[in-house]
């Protein structure tokens, strides 16, 4: 068979022979689906690499199918050609109309109906229902699951509803000994979800100079590139889990400057200008609050660890954080403070 005839077959497979093309398509979908499911569910491999492999597999299978179609015997091919219509005619007009209509409705609904708002309303209603009546084991588990699922699906419930339930969970952890551990665990999950609902501050990177100490990086920040020769305000030490330090505002008075240092250090004494608000960004790693003095600071995407030690927090925000708080009186007070509207102010031990 000539090359021209083989090309005609290839053209027929991908353009006119609907039956053969869809048979090939379905076979490839089944193979790719099986490959993806086996690798992700059975072998537990990384999803992104398997996705690229699956896409590659599709192209390979399409190539194999094309070769098979082009090189099959003429007798067999004639039979296949007679079985499927080779002339491009719309064989199933009903299917066309149904598909187009359903897709049009779906696209319209997806644009007109506020799905995210509906989902948030469902989560609100569920938290409200869980808040009323006695808290028990089942309700706490449901709330914890709800907080984790809503966060995963990026559903933004009303913060006040979440705060209300979290307060009840904190209260249950102190007043009901049989629910103590579960209620505290649920409260921490809800605190994480509550911080996820806080919008992040618009911050930008500032010219910085960093040096290493035994405990981590100390970062000095200047207002502009040319101010690097002046005495700069410094912050830290930061743990390695803090991946970037950004500034959201600048203060020309010592009182308005941000603070992030061990309690009693007074690192920025004598410096008259510095960042008024700093944003510490992480990737979900730990940051311990014990022994820390922080003022005008935002903690973003970090796991906040508090073991109930000394801490001074003034005008602090937590955005998309997880919390691991030890269940002590100071820990309970801190958890309640996290639910206060606006920014967090907390000093322990109370003077």
């Amino acid at each position: 068979m000539s090359a021209g005839a083989r090309f005609q077959r290839l053209h027929r497979l991908w353009v006119t022979d609907n039956a053969a093309r869809w048979k090939t398509n379905y076979s490839i979908v089944v193979c790719t689906l099986a490959y993806g499911l086996f690798n992700s569910l059975v072998l537990g491999r990384n999803e992104s690499s398997v996705t690229w492999e699956a896409i590659g597999l599709c192209f390979v299978l399409a190539g194999v199918s094309s070769v098979r179609y082009c090189f099959q015997s003429s007798k067999k091919f004639r039979g296949a050609r007679l079985a499927g219509r080779d002339i491009p005619v719309l064989r199933r007009p009903v299917l066309t109309v149904m598909g187009a209509a359903a897709a049009a409705i779906f696209v319209t609904l997806a644009n007109v109906v506020p799905f995210s708002g509906l989902e948030a309303a469902v989560v609100d209603e569920r938290f409200r229902r869980l808040s009323t009546g006695n808290l028990n084991d089942a309700r706490l588990r449901k709330a914890m699951e709800m907080a984790e699922v809503s966060r995963k699906l990026n559903i933004r419930a009303h913060p006040s509803v979440v705060s209300k339930f979290t307060r009840r969970a904190i209260e249950a952890s102190t007043s009901k000994p049989e629910l103590r551990a579960l209620a505290w665990q649920t409260a921490q999950a809800c605190l994480g979800y509550r911080s996820f609902l806080n919008p992040p501050s618009p911050a930008k990177p500032a010219p910085t100079d960093s040096s290493m100490s035994e405990l981590g990086w100390i970062v000095s920040i200047s207002k502009g590139r040319h101010a690097a020769d002046n005495l700069m305000a410094s912050f830290g030490p930061f743990p390695f889990t803090v991946v970037s330090v950004k500034i959201a505002a600048w203060s020309d008075t010592p009182y308005g400057m941000a603070v992030y240092e061990p309690i009693g250090t007074g690192r920025n004494k004598g410096i008259n200008s510095g960042p008024a608000f700093i944003v510490l960004q992480g990737k979900g790693g730990d940051l311990a609050l014990d022994g820390l003095s922080a003022k005008h600071v935002e903690f973003d995407n970090l796991q906040i660890v508090y073991r109930g030690g000394r801490v001074v927090l003034q005008d602090v925000r937590f955005v998309n954080c997880n919390f691991r708080i030890e269940m002590r009186p100071s820990g309970v007070t801190f958890a309640n403070e996290l639910l206060a509207p606006g920014r967090v102010n907390f000093v322990s031990p109370l003077s």
């Binding site: 090309f7 093309r21 499911l37 569910l41 699956a54 599709c58 066309t96 569920r126």
Partner: protein
């Protein structure tokens, strides 16, 4: 005057007759693809609704994986179809123009 218009075909009809052999199979294919993508989208929404209704996430995770890999394989096969059609049609047009130029 009447007789003049008898043999004429309107521009729209002429255009449709010209593109019909290409447009009709494309429409039929498009409808099939839309239906398949719609099914995957609806399954995704259904699973989200189940999660919000409080079903066990670990059980739903298996169906979520099926939904994800189904979507990936459909998109990949759609891309393969598009790619192959473009390549095959381009080669055909090139060969035909070459033949015409030769003759």
């Amino acid at each position: 005057m009447r007789g003049e218009g008898r043999g004429r075909v309107s521009f729209v009809a002429e255009f449709w007759n010209e593109v019909r052999p290409f447009a009709v199979p494309l429409l039929a294919d498009l409808a099939k693809w839309l239906l398949l993508f719609l099914a995957v989208g609806l399954l995704h929404l259904f699973l989200r609704a189940l999660l919000l209704m409080g079903y066990n996430p670990s059980r739903i995770a298996v169906f979520e994986a099926i939904d994800y890999w189904l979507a990936v394989s459909l998109i990949a096969v759609f891309a393969v179809n598009l790619f192959m059609r473009i390549v095959v049609e381009s080669i055909r047009i090139f060969i035909e123009s070459f033949r015409r130029a030769k003759s």
